[in-house]
Symmetry: C2
Subunit: 254 residues, 2 copies
């Protein structure tokens, strides 16, 4: 087994011992085409973060163009409409301490390699995982959703930096492919389809993969994991054909 796979036993133990008040949303994307940031999740997030006054925002996936501060501002503008204040984890003097006192956590998208490298180097991959399993509500979109899986091995991103490990939080007992889209996007282009890439992942790894299309998300409430949103997800397993799962269905993957 490759060294970027976590031990399945420890993962299953973690998911079985999951606190009943664990609440997680892992969204394929932050933004739908033609909509504003997080708009498609607004009703869901109103419930998800009910009673929360302050959210800790994890901006590390953003590789440039806009600063962590500017990135945090776009999250803050959305959460202001829910009367939730947003704190930039990248601006805290002690990120581990900030995580330990967080009421709620949101990891935004960008480049998964950069996000995972930074989280491991700062000791935050474990710290955020533990806090979420204690019941702190979590939201991750795109790269922030991918790290809810067992490893980052099904990201679509370019390997712009070298992380010390591909292991991620294992909040769910499978891997996630965000922005999942089926088939060949350009008829005369020879690059692999998303399905081929995920099938190639399964030649080297054992865990199931959820191909999560934009508009849908994975929701964890205690021991119950469901697919939510508007589009069917595609489930890939090492043995057997991929199949579609309709929103509203439980995800019973080990």
């Amino acid at each position: 087994m490759d060294n970027h796979q976590q031990n399945p036993e420890s993962i299953n133990t973690a998911s079985h011992s999951r606190n009943n008040n664990v609440r997680i949303i892992l969204g394929s994307t932050s933004t739908l085409a033609g909509q504003s940031y997080l708009a498609y999740l607004k009703d869901t997030l109103t419930l998800h973060f009910a009673g929360i006054s302050k959210l800790l925002f994890v901006p590390y996936a953003r590789p440039g163009g806009i600063s962590h501060a500017t990135y945090t501002e776009s999250a803050a503008r959305f959460f202001a409409t829910l009367n939730i204040e947003v704190e930039n984890l990248g601006a805290t003097s002690d990120p581990l301490q900030a995580v330990s006192r967080a009421e709620a956590i949101f990891t935004g998208g960008g480049n998964t390699f950069l996000l995972v490298k930074t989280l491991h180097e700062l000791g935050l991959m474990t710290a955020i995982r533990e806090r979420v399993l204690q019941g702190v509500p979590y939201l991750g979109t795109s790269a922030g959703a991918n790290i809810g899986g067992l490893t980052m091995g099904t990201t679509n991103d370019m390997p712009i930096v070298y992380p010390p490990s591909f292991n991620t939080m294992g909040l769910v007992p499978f891997n996630i492919n965000p922005h999942f889209i089926s088939g060949r996007l350009s008829a005369d282009h020879m690059g692999e389809t998303r399905e081929t890439r995920i099938q190639e992942f399964l030649t080297q790894n054992k865990m199931p993969v959820v191909g999560l299309p934009e508009g849908s998300w994975i929701q964890v409430n205690g021991a119950i994991i469901t697919l939510e949103g508007t589009k069917a997800a595609t489930i890939f397993k090492k043995d057997g054909q991929p199949y579609e799962l309709t929103p509203g269905s439980r995800l019973l993957l080990q």
Copy 2:
């Protein structure tokens, strides 16, 4: 500087000391849409491998579906038309020794993470590099072209395994993005464009990147590096706007 970047000084030394009979072809793809394997390169390869009777094929990028032996057969079928025998490196009892006696080397495409992991683990990244710099003609397509660059950091592939390093052969003093294609491939999909991904790479790395479209290739003859084929490449640098380079032009990137 990240630990997956080679020292620029050592790279420049390597390229400056390049043997005058070094001959390298780095192709964006093995196959053009609607054509057979390597057909678009046949005339070029007839010259490139003139006088060669046996080619060593590096099949490690292929993650499954077809075996290394079957993969080698498809290369062998093509090279039989040039009267060149093909040996499967994956079937040799001593791969390092096989490289040391190779008359010519061809690395096929597939998954770059798997290829780079295997080459590093077997000590072949350095061995093949040294052999090519001694004047053994090299062909790489797709993943096999990407590893001709300084690092694999501009691959499009999914990180299905964890390589011990992202460093590659540095046969040319820049990075390569194979299967380069410009713009948004699906109007309502929010995944990043190829340009955005490469620009994100340049926020974390210093080397130039050649966005190499299908149908074009990089050719090295001694100290001269040129773009060849039918389509312009896009050159990305850390500072300045990307620009197009016409086939037939020299690549003067440091």
